[in-house]
């Protein structure tokens, strides 16, 4: 147990310093008589009975309001869902990945890296290194194609 806490809850210290007493101090204080308590409780009971109809009405209003508000919320949610579905149903999620677009891109890439044109302008001694360069570029083209396919498949263009 913390010593500080022990000090704080020490009734001797509290009394000595004039601080507010602990709740258990009340145990040493006298109680009012039974008739006084009975009279107070009787009055409290009457008062509670008087406020009950008002509470009942407010509860009824609350009970009617809660389902009504719930229904409105559900309808609103359904309307938003339908609108969203209609608006974004034809978003080119898969459409972008259509064959013509893919073919067009493949054609572009292959024509850019056409090996015949490069080889035609070179001598035999250069052909070995050019072939290596071609293979490297072909690998790059493969990578480009692969990433293009991924982009198309996951519809990154639509973003």
């Amino acid at each position: 147990m913390n010593i500080m806490n022990m000090k704080r809850s020490d009734p001797h210290e509290k009394i000595w310093k004039g601080e507010p007493w602990d709740e258990d101090a009340a145990a040493y204080m006298p109680r009012p008589s039974e008739p006084t308590r009975t009279a107070i409780f009787e009055a409290a009971r009457l008062q509670a009975a008087a406020v009950t109809p008002k509470t009942f009405i407010s509860r009824m209003i609350r009970w009617r309001l809660v389902p009504a508000l719930g229904t409105v919320c559900i309808l609103l949610l359904a309307a938003i869902s339908i609108w969203y579905y209609r608006e974004y149903r034809h978003t080119p999620v898969i459409a972008v990945a259509d064959e013509p677009a893919l073919e067009e891109m493949v054609e572009y890439v292959t024509s850019t890296y056409e090996p015949d044109e490069i080889l035609a302008e070179t001598t035999d001694s250069e052909s070995g290194s050019i072939q290596d360069q071609f293979l490297a570029e072909l690998a790059v083209a493969h990578e480009t194609l692969a990433s293009l396919e991924i982009d198309i498949e996951y519809d990154y263009f639509s973003l």
């Binding site: 020490d10 009734p11 001797h12 210290e13 509290k14 009394i15 000595w16 310093k17 004039g18 601080e19 507010p20 007493w21 258990d24 101090a25 009340a26 145990a27 040493y28 204080m29 006298p30 109680r31 009012p32 008589s33 006084t36 308590r37 009279a39 107070i40 409780f41 009055a43 409290a44 009971r45 008062q47 509670a48 009975a49 406020v51 009950t52 509470t55």
Partner: protein, 195 residues
């Protein structure tokens, strides 16, 4: 939300057990405050009942901006004042109303003084019983400030506002009350030692 607020709201919706909790929380402390102030058990019973009747009457308009306990003790304070005015039993000589600022300064010094170890030889029961007896012997103004602070747990500025007096006066009265109680407790544990 504190427990008083919860209980009041539940009671206002018709829960008697909530009222029972609320009442029980303050029953003895409030009754002790009133009976100490009027020093007559029968009158204390009447005033205590009056206070709760007024609480029940006004509870539905309680604003929850302040603490319920402060509101309760304010009602009790006014009931006690009404009674003492009507019966002409104002007991105090009002000497402590002329407390100087030096006295309020000493109260803070008094607070710094720790309780002597020998005081702890008194059991909690003996301690409270003795203190409650000493409280009864204090002048009315000191007694009221002391009870509102120690029994009701009010802040000094709340007591000052409630009693419509300056905070220095409150601190001065508290200083006298605490000094007197310390004096009595010292006397008590010296007696305790000699037995």
């Amino acid at each position: 939300m504190d427990q008083d607020t919860v209980d009041i709201k539940e009671y206002l919706e018709g829960s008697m057990s909530a009222f029972h909790r609320l009442y029980t929380r303050y029953e003895r402390q409030l009754f002790f405050y009133i009976s100490s102030m009027v020093r007559n058990n029968e009158t204390a019973e009447d005033l205590f009942q009056d206070v709760w009747m007024q609480v029940l009457k006004k509870l539905s308009s309680f604003s929850f901006k302040g603490k319920f306990s402060n509101w309760l003790y304010t009602i009790a304070h006014h009931k006690v004042i009404d009674y003492t005015r009507s019966s002409g039993t104002r007991q105090s000589a009002h000497l402590e109303d002329t407390i100087s600022s030096e006295d309020t300064a000493t109260f803070h010094d008094v607070l710094a003084d720790p309780a002597p170890d020998v005081l702890h030889t008194l059991s909690t029961r003996e301690l409270y019983e003795r203190v409650l007896q000493v409280v009864e012997t204090l002048p009315a103004e000191q007694r009221e400030v002391f009870l509102l602070r120690s029994d009701a747990g009010m802040k000094f500025k709340e007591i000052a506002a409630m009693m419509n007096i300056s905070i220095n006066t409150v601190l001065g009265r508290m200083h006298y009350a605490v000094s007197r109680i310390r004096q009595e407790l010292k006397h008590e544990y010296h007696e305790h030692e000699t037995i």
